[in-house]
Point group: C2
Chain length 251, copies 2
């Protein structure tokens, strides 16, 4: 028996998210299906992060056990032969038989991408949030710093969350901007690393920082939101297509 | 009567190219339709560059004449209300009544994007050419310089071309690379500006430069191809989805 850890990149546009559900395409179901087609066995992969519908992955992680005599690093190539073109396994390695992708100390990194532009860029419609206003980047940067560190992020998670504790540590939260390829447009990129994120937490942080960028909220308002521990206090949830799970580091 | 010049961005993935054809979706037909829905008149837009199926635009140009009493700069907003989300008018200005987008001195700029990576990145499948090998960027840069200047590009155009003269001037042709967001991967970007391009010329140049990057051809081979004035001499035509018409400058 060998436990294989896959790193998975996917375009979330066509999926109802990572987690298997009846009658909807999911990344997990596509991986299960590819494993079956390679091995002939109905093996279920276990994912690290159950990204939402429309959210993308560059480095999500999944593990499964197999008795097949395929070298671990060949699994990536074998699975890609059967995966649809919007999912790609970008590495496969053997891990210890007790390795569990969710029960480990991890550093997860997400990127949220905003196109700030009067007009949309069609090529980016599934990979960014189009915001018409020019955003105040330095105000967003100051507000972002408020959220760095260990905090109770109850105000920044979906009320539907089932997490027992809402305390998480944000290691870094950076806001940067680069010119976008049409006149007057820019990309604003929010990059966040932490030991874990509550349901919708990154999208609520992105939505809140955009309100700051629009001048509707201040860094001090964000501090008050954090203290309130009440979901009604934080900003809107940014749409899913701007979000990418960049990677997960096991520490 | 007012002549309006539109700058148009589009995701070419879902289109059989720019130019109208029966029973296939085209960018031109979508624009004609949007003009009709705004004005109630069947006015035909005239495009500057008839990009192929799957090729993208950030700054293609189209003009049309109208008697409607809408300020020129409002047309962009009015048309976007009726355009599908994979087409966006990013500017509309009034031009002289004798302005023709194809019969003018222009500088056209295209970008061809390659993902050099063992594994594909699904999010980029419609916006880049996935090449598994690592490419020799400096060899590509040297070979690119051979093509800069006024030359007969007969070897670098599709045999189906109807152009009378195959002489064109390439003002600049730059090859650069930046890291791509998965381990070991990089983007190779070919950016070319010229006074006009023959049918498939940019894609044949991109295909040829990739052969150079793979070590299959040298800068000297490219020089011989150019001299040969024979399409059979140049490299393969790179696939359409890596190509974007970045912009057209009227000089």
């Amino acid at each position: 028996m060998m436990r294989i850890k896959l790193t998975v990149a996917y375009d979330g546009t066509g999926y109802s998210g990572w987690q298997i559900q009846p009658n909807s395409p999911t990344v997990e179901a596509a991986l299960d299906d590819a494993v079956y087609r390679v091995s002939g066995e109905r093996i279920h992969v276990t994912g690290a992060s159950r990204t939402d519908a429309g959210v993308h992955g560059l480095g999500n992680v999944a593990v499964f056990d197999t008795d097949m005599n395929i070298p671990a690093e060949r699994w990536a190539h074998a699975l890609n032969r059967y995966l649809p073109e919007d999912i790609s396994v970008i590495s496969s390695v053997q891990v210890a038989s007790n390795f569990h992708p969710r029960h480990c100390d991890t550093v997860k990194t997400y990127e949220y991408r905003i196109l700030s532009s009067v007009f949309p860029i069609p090529q980016l419609r599934n990979y960014s949030w189009h915001v018409k206003e020019k955003l105040d980047i330095s105000a967003m940067q100051s507000a972002a710093q408020v959220l760095v560190g260990e905090h109770d992020f109850k105000s920044f998670c979906c009320v539907r969350t089932q997490a027992e504790s809402t305390v998480r540590t944000v290691y870094s939260l950076e806001v940067s901007s680069v010119p976008a390829p049409i006149p007057g447009a820019e990309f604003v990129v929010i990059r966040i690393s932490g030991n874990g994120f509550l349901y919708n937490m990154v999208r609520i942080i992105a939505g809140t920082l955009v309100q700051v960028g629009r001048g509707k909220k201040s860094a001090d308002d964000v501090r008050k939101m954090l203290m309130a521990k009440d979901r009604c206090q934080a900003g809107q949830t940014a749409p899913p297509q701007g979000l990418t799970l960049v990677g997960i580091e096991y520490v």
